[in-house]
Symmetry: D2
């Protein structure tokens, strides 16, 4: 992994320290259940302050009718929030979600979903992001979440 | 299922309309993934304004170190909120979670968890409950959530 | 007030039914405390799916050091959420906040604040919006909120 | 103020370090707006893990019809969360709310309100509490909130 030093970039906190490939590889290693038995969650994009994940659900993620279940939408939002924090603080495996508020807005039609996480604040101790979940190729949100991560002590 | 009429009980909104066995049977039918491949979520208790679920996690629910993952804690809280609403409005399969806020408080030690959901409000259109999740035999909370369910139009 | 009929616009739910002047006049009438004793909250802009409020705080809104208090930031976010719902459903005085999650991100420097509320969903029964609060002329968020409003029965 | 040392009580984190009189005097000094122009918020009780505030609203807190406004309910919940944290960590003026989720459940009838804040977690960096708001002499909740406070670095 080609991870650039966080300390080179002190004044520009919203520049990613890891690129898409780095973040994807790190997550796949840490959370093998992201790609398992037909489910596929990949990091589709990392840019300043933002990470986008693409989620192809499998049977376990679906409710009757083909709609993705609430817990699977939550898991997707949680991975996306983790990805955007990871991309901007570097590979800190110990960051933990402390709080998530999720609103379920519309039952998504069957098919892949995109989750776009955006950093609202990257502090020394807490990172707050919001996450918009929508079906691929659709503008209407299926879910919206706001997540807080506690960052490890030794940071910054 | 021996479901008593909701209309007999108009003035006592916090008395359950379904008992533990009814709620457990209904959930098991609607959400087969609650008991599958080693995971077991059962309705342990239903009483006025309250439902308690017991969750024996399987491999899929665990993070390295044996702690239950955030999405599995979310799913448990969501089932518990559904159970307490179901118990008090009767078998209305269409109630949907619209909003959940969850705080992850302490990594739970390995083993079964109890989730106690308590109705804060049971209105005609919305039901709000809070959910306390703790390891069985432990007083310290692992997680705490507040959930809002939208109730179907034809209700009450 | 020149309020256009909601029914002309069925297929375009994100087009406002009231313009900036309408919304501002309605709010000022309904909430006289928005402009009182030095405090001034005005509707600065209404456009598709969005309303922006400008808040000039007075003494009551400040903590020692000149920073705006949490309850005043909450009130501002609540007015902004109300404004964007009002603008898009028409003058329905009975809409009520049912749920708000607010994250306090940075102490804002003294001076006016802007609150931009954006509709995430406008359903028949619930409207969900998020609200970004920042000091005027600054990109960094002071606070971020997500609000749910219950809409009156007779709507839609 | 007779504040006992926090360090005497390491193993008993839920025992208050300040009593009702201490907490009330500290809050009144720090937030003079709690008692001003007819509004009166007092600390009614402090016990293990819990603080209860009593709120007698004034004109500014009321909506037409005599019901307490959302921002005033938010402010009350925020003071109560602050009081329970303060009582258990000692007079740390720098603790700040980072996150609050509030559900408005029923319009309270006119008259004084009680807000009972309960610590869900008191960690080194974050304190999480929930707050139940009800009219004095009434069991039905008017509002329910969950609040997170960030604690100062130098703590414990």
């Amino acid at each position: 992994m080609s991870i650039r030093s966080r300390h080179e970039r002190e004044g520009e906190p919203m520049l990613p320290l890891m690129d898409r490939d780095d973040v994807d590889a790190f997550l796949a290693l840490e959370f093998p259940q992201m790609r398992h038995a037909g489910r596929e969650i990949i990091v589709a994009e990392v840019r300043s302050g933002t990470a986008v994940l693409r989620f192809a659900p499998d049977e376990r993620d679906l409710r009757p009718g083909g709609t993705v279940s609430g817990p699977s939408l939550f898991a997707l939002a949680d991975y996306a929030a983790y990805a955007v924090v990871l991309a901007h603080v570097g590979p800190v495996a110990l960051a933990v979600t402390t709080n998530m508020t999720i609103n379920f807005l519309r039952r998504p039609r069957p098919g892949p979903l995109l989750a776009e996480a955006r950093l609202l604040k990257l502090g020394r101790r807490l990172a707050v992001s919001d996450i918009a979940v929508r079906p691929e190729g659709d503008d209407e949100l299926a879910a919206h979440a706001v997540a807080t991560y506690a960052l490890p002590h030794e940071r910054g």
